[in-house]
Structure formats: structure tokens, C-alpha cells
């Protein structure tokens, strides 16, 4: 009954992506306030990392707790090559940043994927901390505790992404690519493999799946997007220091996914939007805001196993069921008297 009310999966996908694009364009056109634009850029930059991270954590079931480290690597490579040690162009450095993040993630993946479950989480936590210590100590590259400042805003020819309005365009385009590439992977063979790994990775291997290759691929994929997010963060903030890439920044990514909903692409995005705006709402509560945030996480984990997106879907399904039942009740019964 519900299926008849919904368009086909391809049509749904096209409609969905058109809506995403339209929302981004509308936000750019309608939001004029600099502060609100800054919030949107912040949320967009986080989403660039969190949506691919959702594949690793939600689809594959590996809760990495060191993603903040990869955000930092992306940011510091930009900082080091554009201002700290060299004066190269942002667009020339971005591929370098991607390659360095990918190589680091690939190298560590051999060690980390010897671990599973909580052990893997602890391993990634240690990696995140290790990277943080490197940012804090390796002054020649990072500037140490004082960080790197004077990072230039990117430009294409004469068009400098200098204002928040312009920078939003850059973030929106890259966010679209990040989300689309994650969706593309999730719907095909990679998605099927990730889901099988989450369900039973020994069985998947026994049925011929190269489990390690898929785990490494998605770990590197999530790390690269975390690095790109860091690169944009560095360009947006102009100056960066290690305090932005602590373990807390890694926890935040996990929280976004849990609050928004695991196993879907929209869930983590909803998590980012929700937490960003909740942060604003409870900013005046001082020390109590962390208590409110913590309580919300507990409530979500206890009562909404699918996160906020799971809750929304459940409500939509109930509404569609109600519509379907109402239609069925109105339809004349076969054989009923005219």
C-alpha cells in the first residue's frame, strides 16, 4: 500500500538530489546575515566530513574515534604549504593535502584493521591523540601550540572566496560532491559489502568478499573527506591551532552520527544541523549546555535507535499508513451495492 504512494527508487533519488541542490541554492540566496552564513559554513564543513564518516561508522559498523586527527592533517597541510613554510596556492595544495591524508590513513589502516569492535575504537582514539600531539609538537610544520595564521582564502582567478557569501558557495559545492560520492558508493556494490561486513564479516570473507580491502577503502575515503573538511576549515578560519583537533572534535563526529541516525546518509547530516542549531539555542546556559547535550544523546540512544532521521522516517511511515488506510476505507468494496 505504501509502495504505491511512493515514486520509484531512481525517481526518488533524482528528486532527493534536486531538493538538496535547491536547498543549498536557496540558503545562499536567502541568508544574508553574516553570522548565520558563518553558522551554515561551519555546519557544511562538518557535513563534508561526517557524511562519508557515516559510511564507516553506520554502514560498516566501525566506530572510528580519531577522525578529528584527519581533519587536522588536512588543515595543517594547507596551513604549512600556503603560509607556514611555502606560499603555494590553495588549489595546488588541496591535492597534496588529499594525498597525504590518504597515505596516512592507508598506512594506519593496516594496524587498525587488525582490531575489531571496541578495540578498533580505542585504536583510532589513540591515533587521533597521536596526531594531536604531532600538531602540538611539530612546530616547523604546524607552528606548535600557537598554530598557523594568515591562511589565505582560496581564489579562482580574480574571484576570491573572501566573503562568507562566496565561501558558502565553495562549501556547498564540495558538500554536494562529498554527499553525492557517499551516496553513489552506498547504493552499489560497496554499500552491499559494507552492510555485509557490519552484519558478519567472517561470513562475508567465507563467501569470497575481500573484507580488508573494503574496510581500508572506506576508512581512506572517510579520512580524505575529513582532510578536505579540514582544508576548508583552515581557509575559513584563517588561523588554526591544535585545540580545534582534540579528541573532542573526533567525539563530535561520532555524536553527529548517533544523534542523526546510523546506517543512512541523511542521518549524519541531520545530526550536524541539529547539534549546530542546538548549540546556538543553549549557548546562554553556560556550563549547563553540556548537560543538556549529554541528556539528549542519552534520550536518543535509548528511545530512537535510528536517531532523529529514524524517528522522522517512522513518523512519515505512520502518516503514509494512515493515508493509505483512509483511501482504502473510501474506496468502494468489490460487490458492494451501487
Amino acid at each position: 500500500m505504501i509502495e504505491r504512494l511512493l515514486p520509484s527508487s531512481t525517481a526518488r533519488a533524482i528528486i532527493g538530489w534536486l531538493i538538496v541542490a535547491a536547498i543549498l541554492v536557496l540558503l545562499w540566496a536567502l541568508v544574508g546575515n553574516n553570522y548565520h552564513l558563518r553558522l551554515l559554513i561551519s555546519a557544511g564543513t562538518a557535513m563534508i566530513a561526517v557524511i562519508p564518516f557515516g559510511l564507516l561508522m553506520g554502514h560498516m559498523g566501525y566506530m572510528a574515534m580519531g577522525q578529528g586527527g584527519f581533519v587536522g592533517v588536512g588543515a595543517y597541510v594547507i596551513g604549512c604549504f600556503t603560509v607556514q613554510r611555502f606560499e603555494l596556492d590553495f588549489w595546488a595544495v588541496l591535492p597534496v593535502s588529499i594525498i597525504i591524508t590518504a597515505v596516512l590513513a592507508y598506512g594506519f589502516s593496516f594496524l587498525l584493521f587488525r582490531l575489531r569492535g571496541y578495540h578498533f575504537s580505542i585504536g583510532t582514539l589513540a591515533l587521533g591523540q597521536l596526531l594531536y600531539l604531532a600538531f602540538d609538537s611539530w612546530e616547523w610544520v604546524t607552528g606548535g601550540p600557537h598554530g598557523t595564521s594568515g591562511i589565505p582564502r582560496p581564489a579562482i582567478g580574480e574571484y576570491v572566496f573572501g566573503t562568507n557569501s562566496r565561501f558558502f558557495i565553495l562549501v556547498a559545492v564540495i558538500l554536494f560532491i562529498s554527499a553525492f560520492s557517499s551516496w553513489w558508493l552506498a547504493r552499489g556494490q560497496v554499500g552491499r559489502a559494507l552492510s555485509a561486513i557490519r552484519q558478519d564479516e567472517d561470513l562475508a570473507a567465507a563467501r569470497g568478499l575481500n573484507v580488508l580491502r573494503y574496510k581500508q577503502f572506506i576508512f581512506v575515503f572517510a579520512a580524505v573527506w575529513a582532510g578536505v573538511s579540514g582544508a576548508l576549515y583552515a581557509a575559513m578560519q584563517i588561523s588554526i591551532d591544535p585545540s580545534s583537533f582534540t579528541i573532542w572534535s573526533s567525539f563530535q563526529q561520532v555524536i553527529y552520527v548517533i544523534i542523526g541516525g546510523t546506517g543512512t546518509l541523511l542521518g549524519p547530516a541531520i545530526g550536524v544541523i541539529f547539534i549546530t542549531f542546538l548549540d546556538q539555542l543553549i549557548a546562554d546556559f553556560g556550563v549547563w549546555n553540556q548537560l543538556i547535550l549529554g541528556s539528549l544523546i542519552v534520550i536518543t540512544v535509548l528511545f530512537f535507535r535510528g536517531g532523529l532521521w529514524g524517528g522522522i522516517r517512522m513518523l512519515a511511515r505512520l502518516a503514509l499508513n494512515a493515508v493509505g488506510l483512509a483511501r482504502a476505507a473510501k474506496a468502494p468494496r468489490p460487490g458492494a451495492a451501487e
Binding site: Q189, R192, S195, A196, Q199, D200, D202, L203, A204, A205, A206, R207, G208, L209, N210, V211, L212
Partner: protein, 249 residues
């Protein structure tokens, strides 16, 4: 003897426990061979070592004269060595048909010459349909494993293993939780596959069923090979009698 599987000196130690001790044996091509032993004999560890779910400390495993002991488990599966598990395992979020299709995609196209059992010919959809029909699972094709009876789940698991188009199938306690009739129903299906060229190694501790079903038996006890022979030879072996009847001193 034309051995499809040759195992030499396979050993595994977990801390102070020697779970498998220098086990060597061959499985003849097209045979239905059994590996029996009481609980804790090391049978499942042995299966895990052969299929590379665990790495052996020493020893070699050759399938069709090709070494398996230095390959990861997914390559062992693709080489034609499939297994089932003591505790029934399927992808619980996928339908029965999807479980089969998944194995077909990852295992590669049916490529083993000389095999003729169900589910080898045609495209994925035809192969899936043939396997479902063979195991009388067509009415359950769109069901999730959680909605299946124990019998149907076990059949689906065997069908999924066969979807890999293996040369050799290792079944770990396939009759656990089955009545005698259900066990022999599964055996009939397995025998039909054997006629189609499939070699099987059954691992169980149910002496009665294994004696009736298998052409040749190996007996494990405390991680080591205790005896080998035809069911009649094993039945008459004093060491086996001691282990199973508790007369060991």
C-alpha cells in the same frame, strides 16, 4: 587416491592449549568424508584453520595441489573451498535470495569444470532460482533469515555456500538441532550434489548419523587424529570406543 584436499601436519596452539596437534589427512575427490570427535576435540578449530578463519602455527593445506594455507579466507573461498558454520550464519538483513546472490557475486562466476550440481548454470537469477527450487526454499525466497524455521535456515546456509560453486564443501555440525528425518532430508540433498561432483567433508559428533552417511571417517580427540577408516573399521576401533563410551583411563 585422487585427493582434492591434502592436509599435512596442521597445528594450532592458543596460549597453553594445543587445540590442533599435527593433523594430517586427505579427502578424495568426489567423496563424502566425515570428521568426528567428542565436544572439545578441536573439530571446529580444524575447520577454521583449513578455511583460514584462523592461521595455523604449522602445516600445509592443498586444494587441488594448490596451497591454501598462505591465502586469506576470501581467496580460499574463491578457490573453491566453502564452509558452513556450527551456529547457523546468514546475512540477517538480506532475504534468502539476496543471501545467495551475494555469494555468487563475491565468489565469482561458476567456473569449476566437472561440477554439475544445482545452481551452476546460467546467470545469477537462474542460478538462484535453481538453488532455491532444489532446497525447496522458493516460498521463502523473499523472507529474512529471522523468519525461517531452523530447517529452512540450515538449507539456506548450505544453498548460500553452494552459490560459491565450490569444489569442496565443509559442513560444520550440519545436523545440530535436527530430527533424524530432517538430517536425512538434508543428506539426500547433499548426496545429489555429490553425484554432481561436489566433494564434502562433514564435521559432527553424532556417531550414529555419521556412520550411516560417510564413506570414510577421521576421528579427532584432544586436538589429534585418533583413528581413520571406513565406518565399520572406526566402529571396531578400541581407541574410538574408549573415547565415545568413556572407557578411557
Amino acid at each position: 587416491m585422487d585427493a582434492i584436499l591434502q592436509i599435512e601436519n596442521l597445528s594450532k596452539r592458543f596460549g597453553g592449549v594445543e587445540a590442533v596437534k599435527a593433523v594430517s589427512f586427505d579427502v578424495p575427490r568426489g567423496g563424502l568424508v566425515g570428521l568426528i570427535g567428542p565436544n572439545g576435540a578441536g573439530k571446529t578449530t580444524f575447520v577454521n584453520l583449513v578455511t583460514k578463519h584462523d592461521s595455523p602455527d604449522t602445516g600445509t593445506v592443498m586444494l587441488d595441489a594448490k596451497p591454501m594455507h598462505n591465502l586469506p579466507s576470501f581467496k580460499v573461498a574463491r578457490a573453491g573451498l566453502a564452509r558452513t558454520y556450527q551456529k547457523n550464519r546468514l546475512f540477517f538483513e538480506e532475504s534468502v535470495a539476496e543471501n545467495l546472490r551475494t555469494a555468487m557475486i563475491w565468489g565469482g562466476a561458476a567456473k569449476h569444470e566437472g561440477l554439475r550440481y544445482p545452481g551452476l548454470q546460467g546467470r545469477e537469477e537462474e542460478r538462484t532460482k535453481e538453488l532455491l527450487d532444489f532446497f525447496a526454499l522458493t516460498p521463502q525466497r523473499d523472507s529474512l533469515p529471522s523468519g525461517l524455521s531452523h530447517l529452512h535456515r540450515r538449507r539456506a546456509e548450505v544453498a548460500q555456500a553452494l552459490a560459491l560453486a565450490p569444489k569442496l564443501l565443509m559442513l560444520d555440525e550440519p545436523f545440530a538441532g535436527f530430527s533424524r528425518d530432517e538430517a536425512f532430508d538434508l543428506i539426500e540433498h547433499l548426496r545429489a550434489c555429490q553425484k554432481g561432483g561436489l566433494t564434502m567433508l562433514l564435521i559432527d559428533h553424532n556417531m550414529e548419523v555419521m556412520m550411516e552417511v560417510c564413506e570414510y571417517l577421521y576421528v579427532m580427540h584432544h586436538g589429534a587424529l585418533l583413528a581413520a577408516g571406513t565406518p565399520n573399521e572406526v566402529r571396531a576401533n578400541q581407541d574410538v570406543i574408549n573415547v565415545y563410551l568413556g572407557a578411557e583411563t
